[in-house]
Symmetry: C2
Subunit: 293 residues, 2 copies
């Protein structure tokens, strides 16, 4: 099967998983569940859940990884919904559609974000509780990756950095590693846990995820500086207008592209240490670095 | 030991648990961890964690219930921090001190709330992962109680009710049961899980918690209508000024007090079905209904 077809199939599985695993929109309180589904069904590349599924399949997926993949997408989406709020980035557009607080209202978006974060843990409980060792390992991975020392820590430092006149390369690395790489790393590790990976392989997945996450975020900065709003589906050039410190601002476009390439090459090298057929994941990582939106 | 002394001892344990189990305020990002600690260290009655500890001790506390008790207080506190935000209740005072968004800023309060919710799950993972069956049961209890069909659902309906010209008794019961009773119920059940309660006893704890939660919320409504701001440590009379539907508005003061008493009597009756020394819990429930702040 070719890569484009595989990618399509993974995304289809994720979309079906979202449609069936999320609380129905009619469930009381309806407005809350509608806002949760609205935020999650904005499409997008479904990169993180695809990484979970593809990573699990390196070991032949001992346990169904789909609920965990959907749970990770819930965490990613909650962080976007809260990040878009007026007190944070105050963004009107996300993937070409009104952000949750524009489509509904601020309070509903706040609660829908809270509910998506919580629902990720409900999914783990509902689908893995009969495999309590796996369930506990997934809980650990999710809670730490989403917590104040990773995802939320990265968002906080990002917010603080916006108010500073100078941001160092170390501070920017902290933000990227915590805000972006933490959840992408969790995606690889989650796949490994569902697949039944050894401790050694889990460590290799963690290394791969960290490198992919960094490459991904650097390319995000590059695209914000070079692509237009229609292509991105979100407001482009925002970083520069906000005088936000990005990889591009600190290191320039060429060095940023080069650094992303170095990270993705390193990710592919660590991926090669893993068992199973890694061809799909390797190509996905390569595409991620050469993407245009 | 007398009840006042026991209550004091439980609160001391909770305070020590909070001080030692929360991430240190110096941890990066410092502002985030300071805001988490600020929000949690506002004092308060520590009712929910006290219920966890006292409930666990009915069975002699097979597992240390303190991390779970602190985790539940984290969830309760996150819901207050988000509830106080400008887009929700827009409150300046909480337990006599500036609310988190007044003390820090809105974005920091938003993220500190997110981080407290997530930290509750980190605590479960960090302290119970070696007892994976218990850990999974606690995860289930916490995630469901905090989720869109319980705590957040109650907050959403509460928000929607404020915009309606009439709120029915059924709608108000939904709000109270979901917004308040869900977490108080989770406190009793969490204690039972840590103590090693049987399925039958867990069901009895759930029933007790629901009744205590309803009584507690009705008394909250009564106090908002009758007490002053200094006594409450939060803005009093807010419900009436906002023309908010409360038990008092729907049923009157006397009937509200009577209904709270009926619920607490029923809670005490279901408590009596449990093993162990229930004297402390019984007195605590009685005090809750006769409290003045």
């Amino acid at each position: 099967m070719d890569i484009a077809r595989q990618l399509h199939d993974y995304r289809e599985r994720v979309e079906r998983g979202l449609a069936t695993l999320l609380p129905p929109a009619q469930l009381r309180p309806r407005r809350l569940h509608e806002a949760m589904r609205y935020s999650l069904q904005a499409g997008g590349k479904r990169l993180r859940p695809t990484l979970v599924l593809a990573s699990a399949e390196l070991w032949g997926s001992k346990h169904d990884a789909l609920p965990a993949a959907v749970a990770l997408e819930c965490i990613h989406t909650y962080s976007l919904v809260h990040d878009d709020l007026p007190c944070m980035d105050n963004d009107d557009l996300r993937r070409g559609r009104p952000t949750a607080h524009r489509q509904f209202d601020e309070a509903t978006a706040l609660l829908a974000g809270d509910a998506l974060l919580t629902f990720a843990f409900q999914l783990l409980a509902r689908h893995y509780r009969n495999h309590s060792t796996l369930c506990t390992a997934l809980l650990t991975e999710f809670a730490e990756a989403a917590g104040s020392e990773h995802l939320i820590g990265g968002q906080m430092e990002d917010l603080l950095a916006e108010k500073k006149s100078t941001v160092t390369a170390e501070e920017l690395d902290y933000i990227h590693l915590h805000k972006t790489a933490a959840i992408i790393t969790a995606a690889f590790v989650t796949g490994g846990l569902c697949g039944g990976a050894s401790e050694t392989d889990l460590a290799q997945l963690r290394l791969t995820g960290r490198r992919v996450g960094l490459a991904f975020q650097i390319i995000d900065d590059v695209l914000d500086a070079t692509a237009d709003t229609a292509t991105l589906g979100k407001t482009a050039g925002k970083d520069a207008r906000a005088d936000k410190t990005t990889y591009v601002k600190l290191h320039g476009l060429d060095a940023s592209r080069q650094h992303a390439r170095t990270q993705s090459d390193a990710a592919i090298a660590s991926l090669a240490q893993l068992p199973g057929e890694t061809n799909f994941l390797r190509t996905l990582i390569e595409q991620m670095v050469s993407r245009t939106h």
